[in-house]
Symmetry: C4
Subunit: 388 residues, 4 copies
């Protein structure tokens, strides 16, 4: 066979290399994958991972916001040579797509974050490991892929510093500080069954393995698991944290710092004033403030306010290659995906995550090419318009 000319690389494998034999178990259309994942999980885990806050209105609005923007393809540009490689925070990413931090992944699949980390590493995709991971950040790092660490800023600066220094030591190259979860939101699905994995010691591996945390326990967690859980609940979050406290983090690490959960342009400006390196424009996938603005709708004013100065990652509602392209055209430097890779994890563990990543990378590559673009950096406001 002469050439794979009319195919993207992964398409080529699917259509021409018999890969399709595996696919019946792994739906490609995202809504079919979502449905397959739902069948795999019990109601508790399903509600926790795939549900949202309140009436789940912001969950829906996140998706609608993408529908309201339309791509404007350009023709007759040489797109035979393309790349999805992107530079964010001076770091080269294989694509403008990162795995948004999600905790307690072992409720989705026993391999949890380890499966995700392996799949991401194999694709070269940057994974943001959650403080609330089922496995320790060191275990996750063993997969060897590019990785950032998400920080739930705990009560107690010593513990916060310990997490940061462990992340540095384990090779994480950026710190993503979540600002929108000082309290758990009102989530009817979880509340209905009082489903909270932490209370069963799931998702607190980073705490149980932390010397500072352990030093605060009367007994080692191996002997008194519930005591450890109680202590975890007490230190998990610190709603007294304000902008001034960022100086502490800034002094604690040389890693680039991104603030996650920023939706208001004034907060974006404050972030710049306080010396952070980037933002994750996000409403936590509709899991925190129900009724909040769609992340994509929040992006424009933030780009206008700080787009030249801060790295901007957008998450909440990204499903397809077209969504990635739209977010970048509107000014994001990269996007985070959350639920999609968890659907893959639920359905087939590491193979499922690989499936999702390959699909999304392939779809993005093709979207760029068919829009007449050869790299994500070429996406700008000219490539997108509002729906009429």
């Amino acid at each position: 066979m002469a050439d794979s000319a009319p195919f993207g690389n992964y398409q080529y494998e699917i259509y021409l290399k018999g890969l399709a034999d595996e696919l019946p178990k792994l739906p490609i259309a995202w809504d079919a994958l979502e449905a397959a994942a739902a069948e795999k999980l019990d109601a508790g885990a399903h509600g926790y991972v795939f549900g949202g806050a309140g009436a789940e209105d912001t969950m829906r609005e996140n998706l609608e916001a993408f529908r309201r923007r339309r791509l404007l393809p350009r023709m007759l540009r040489d797109v035979s040579e393309r790349t999805t490689v992107t530079t964010v925070l001076g770091q080269e990413l294989n694509a403008p797509i990162v795995l948004a931090p999600v905790g307690v992944q072992s409720i989705v699949h026993p391999d949890g974050e380890l499966a995700v980390a392996r799949a991401a590493a194999a694709q070269g995709t940057t994974m943001i490991a959650s403080t609330a991971s089922s496995f320790t950040l060191e275990e996750i790092a063993e997969a060897g892929g590019p990785r950032w660490f998400q920080l739930y800023w705990p009560r107690g600066r010593e513990l916060a510093a310990s997490f940061v220094h462990r992340a540095e030591a384990a090779g994480y190259t950026a710190l993503v500080v979540t600002l929108d979860t000082w309290l758990l939101a009102w989530r009817p699905r979880d509340l209905q069954g009082a489903y909270l994995p932490f209370l069963k010691s799931i998702g607190i591996a980073n705490y149980l393995s932390d010397p500072v945390f352990r030093s605060t326990l009367a007994d080692p967690p191996e002997e008194d698991p519930q005591g450890a859980v109680g202590q975890f609940v007490g230190v998990f979050s610190n709603p007294t944290v304000t902008w001034e406290d960022l100086a502490f983090l800034r002094e604690t690490t040389d890693l680039p710092i991104l603030l996650k959960g920023v939706l208001h342009p004034d907060d974006a400006r404050l972030a710049r004033e306080h010396g952070v390196d980037g933002l994750v424009v996000s409403n936590h996938g509709g899991r925190q403030v129900d009724g909040a603005i769609a992340a994509l709708d929040a992006l424009g004013p933030i780009v206008e306010a700080v787009g030249d100065d801060l790295a901007l990652v957008l998450d909440s509602g990204v499903r397809t290659g077209a969504d990635v392209a739209k977010a970048l055209a509107l000014g994001a430097d990269a996007v985070g995906i959350g639920r999609p890779y968890l659907w893959g994890l639920a359905v087939a563990g590491e193979a499922g995550v690989t499936h999702v990543l390959k699909n999304l990378l392939a779809e993005l590559d093709l979207t760029l090419a068919l829009c007449g673009l050869t790299s994500p950096a070429e996406l700008d406001g000219a490539a997108v318009t509002e729906s009429a």
Copy 2:
């Protein structure tokens, strides 16, 4: 356990105190609770309480109007100390939420308004008792909670004055005068079965117990129930009432007076000119003028017209903590909820109302906190935006 840091108080009870064992019978998501309530009631009672006027277009529009507004959370503000306490009409409310007046609650549950009053009192929530209650205003007052009295202004000033003076005597601290129900609207569900509780002597307790009303009867209602019903029908409303008549009420009582059902800013201005203290911006939950503007859409112009001078309560369409926050951000001082507490009442009597109140208070508290606010008073136009 050190602290309930990442939890709101009621969440804490649900997740950590085993409260969840009771919950399977009490849905948390509002649409699930609504569905459970529908199963509890016969068609007549269901249509009366949960149906609306005409094609129920305004019922739907009330909900849509909330969907069109989006919250804009702020980050990194110290939200460790918060309150939902609100001052309206110089009265301290436990939250900017009152129970909108609803008549004939005994068709929903035999304990009717008494169950609601007890639940509200226990939570410290202000209940607006309806003139058309199944129990007398004095019986409702026995629950001891904060309470306002809703007046269906009857034909005959003597009877009107009697109601007002009884309310004063029973400790009601404000008078809510309904303006939008001089006639029953065209309600197909009720008309289909000719379902009207009053005709079976339900919802006329305040009349049957009133000395002025009784003095107009040929025979005591105990002897001639149908005669009393007929007399009730004749005096229930007075469509000749105009702005000039408000002077009578103003002279009759020192209680603050709110006019309920105002949707037009010119009526808001007239209300101010006529010396009332507040308004309930409301379309009666879509039960009176089908096709009417959504209450939330009516709010803005009214705030602009009289927002600095009159207390503004909004009802019609409030379902979630996000809805409360949006209404306050748009200028309301408080909201009224109606159907939601009746769903609770239908499903589990007093316990069901308690359930709804606790949920809504908790959700509001968390919404405030996660928006970076520590009190309802901080909600202003900067916290809300139109959907893109």
Copy 3:
């Protein structure tokens, strides 16, 4: 019983006079009535009467256009004395509601137009009898109610004049000339079954009874029915008619002339120039040009162009009292209803039409009252707003 104070008159009958016993067979909510009518008819008749042109997009849009407008009720106006009486073309109507012309009603119910005419006469509602009626215009006139005659302008001025003079003689007081049906539209439901009542001699009574028409036949229709049908097809419409031809009609009759089917303001201006008295702003209920503008959306520009000079009746999409109020607030002098009365006719003949008329009149009366208005004439632009 002292008084029917809180009730409209018809409500009073329903709630208090046992009328409800009949109602289970006669749904009140319009969508339920529509569904009941659908069950009564075979597919052919159902498709013909209740279907529309093309993809039925304009049928849907007609309804949506009403949803986009919202009523703005006013409070505290004395509404104890009200009327729905309206003056159009110098004629007093019992309400701003007329029965839009619909042909071949015998396919809906054997009593067809006679049942409708009797019901309308009993209510005092003006009926527009169709040229294509199942019974002759003289038979329809026997019901004795107020009536206008709709003209399908035939090929041949002699026949046109004959129809007009017959209508005058039979007491019709206005002429409604349909402009939008020189050709039958593309109606998939009818085409699918080649269902066309005229071909079975239904709906051509006015032709068969006309001396001019009969004079053109080789044999009397009683002997050669198909020959008469063929002749009918040949003369039914005259797509060569232009504005200039209106002078002929103007000279032929002193009846006020309304042009039905006008949607463009320039056509409204031309109508005024050519001396007509009024317009029916209509897209034929979505049965002619699929994709056409909703009649209610067309109304505004037409009101602006000629609203001071011509009587304006709006039809296409009117279902509820709120719809009537919205159309009048936007500048119509009256509305026509079509499908709703046919649903009643299908379900219960004359009694069903009576049911629909009583319901709609009652709902309009209540809508006016609850908007703070005592007559249709008070409805103006201040009573309506766009949905936010």
Copy 4:
């Protein structure tokens, strides 16, 4: 029978000539026809022909864009004499409707493009034959109807020139160069089953019959079918082609050249600069860039940019006569239909395509007439408005 006055010609046949006996097998309403076609095909062929790219969002948006525009009919113009004849590129078309190019039609029906060509020829409708047809362009030409040739510009100018010269020799009168398919888009339905007809030698007839193509093969395709498929895959598309390469085509043929897939007005300007004759404004029916702007939404800016200079054909989303009229009113010179004729082909082969063409031509004729127009050329911006 005197005359077919109130009927369009094809209506006349249906209603009066018993044609309806055949219709039960051939649905007229487009959604019913679509459903019937879906039942005829296996999942693979169905997904390939009727599915779209990505989440099929652009497929939906294409339809929505037509819903957002409304026709504004005019009255009282003489429409007794009408034509649908249209001149595009100096060529007279029987109507402003062409058959958009679709490849591999033998997966829909064994007669594939031959059935379509015969049906189109019988109606006088211009067919755009695809490079990827199941039969050779010469075989398709034998039907004798008006025809254009769609070019998938291959790798290798010699092969491209061979296709063009064969098309000239076979009587094709315009060249439609597809710009939006240098790579196959991400199409979940096809990928799920690795369904790609080309790999089974379907849709490569023009290659297998081409002397230039055959000269590149080691063995004749009759002996080594898979080798030929491999060679096809290698030459099918050439993503290095840019605007400069158009000069080659311009020099190779005197046929008018249209560029298909243009959505951005700047590309339309570039097309004009590079001397092409027309554009097909298209997003490939939502099969290439998911998330792309609806073709109809892209039309306006392109008309503004080059509408006076280039012929503009619009495809993607056209279903009804109203859609054709809207596109023309917004500035297109003609439209292409795709899926609709394939539904007909799937259901009944040539007879099904004939059915679709007759229906659409009849509906367009009636739409024009009922809008007060006697020819497509009269459609301009005054005939269309945005939905309110």
